[in-house]
């Protein structure tokens, strides 16, 4: 188990009702972790349209959630 802090933005923040949460996860990688929270919060966006960032830098979906990590799921961006 790893205790991680998750950051939510835009439609994910609305769906989760919060901009961040701390949880214990047994997911082997960030892909599995996203599936867990996607089901729990009812996120509409499939993982294929998302990116993931760990501790403020883009990361691969195969990265393992480390204890104390800050993990952000990045929906398709729309700045500009």
């Amino acid at each position: 188990m790893a205790r991680v802090t998750l950051l939510y933005f835009a439609s994910l923040r609305d769906a989760a009702g919060t901009g961040s949460e701390t949880l214990d996860t047994d997911a082997a990688d960030c892909a599995g972790l996203y599936e867990q929270v996607r089901v729990r919060h009812g996120f509409a966006l499939p993982r294929e349209r998302m990116r993931v960032a760990v501790d403020g830098a883009f990361a691969g979906w195969d990265a393992a959630p480390r204890d104390g990590a800050e993990i952000a799921f990045i929906p398709p961006v729309s700045g500009g």
Binding site: A10, G56, A57, P76, G79
Partner: protein, 158 residues
Amino acid sequence: MSGAPASGEGDARLFAIAPQPFDIAPLRAPLLHERAGAFAAFEGWVRDHNDGRAVLGLRYDAYVELAEAEGRRIVRAALDRFGAIDACCVHRVGELAIGELAVWVGVSAAHRDAAFDACRWIIDEVKAHVPIWKHERYADGDADWLHPRPADPTAPGR
């Protein structure tokens, strides 16, 4: 009144997220180097419509830490790629009304090719990669976050 990045902080002045309206003049002035003959700028303003719907206003959300890191990477890459002299990009977050400035990009270069090309490349890259999200409120009462598909021809801001 200014969310402008201060000069002389290395890469920090290349890109910034501004939570409040910002002035363009203090962003443009440091780019006027004596060897620069050309300057190109882009401004994105909040339009009164998007994709055929009347827009009342909008809000930008950002993952500020990552957005600033990505933005600085993009502006630095543009300087290298196009041989531009200096550049700066600032993007607003928070609530914006119609006509408010959402994003500003300025690039100085010896010649106009590099200035135009780098400016265009920066705004394209920022729109494609920097973690900022737009939430639009429409005149019909609807409101939504925009999460465009990469190849969507109706994607906002094209």
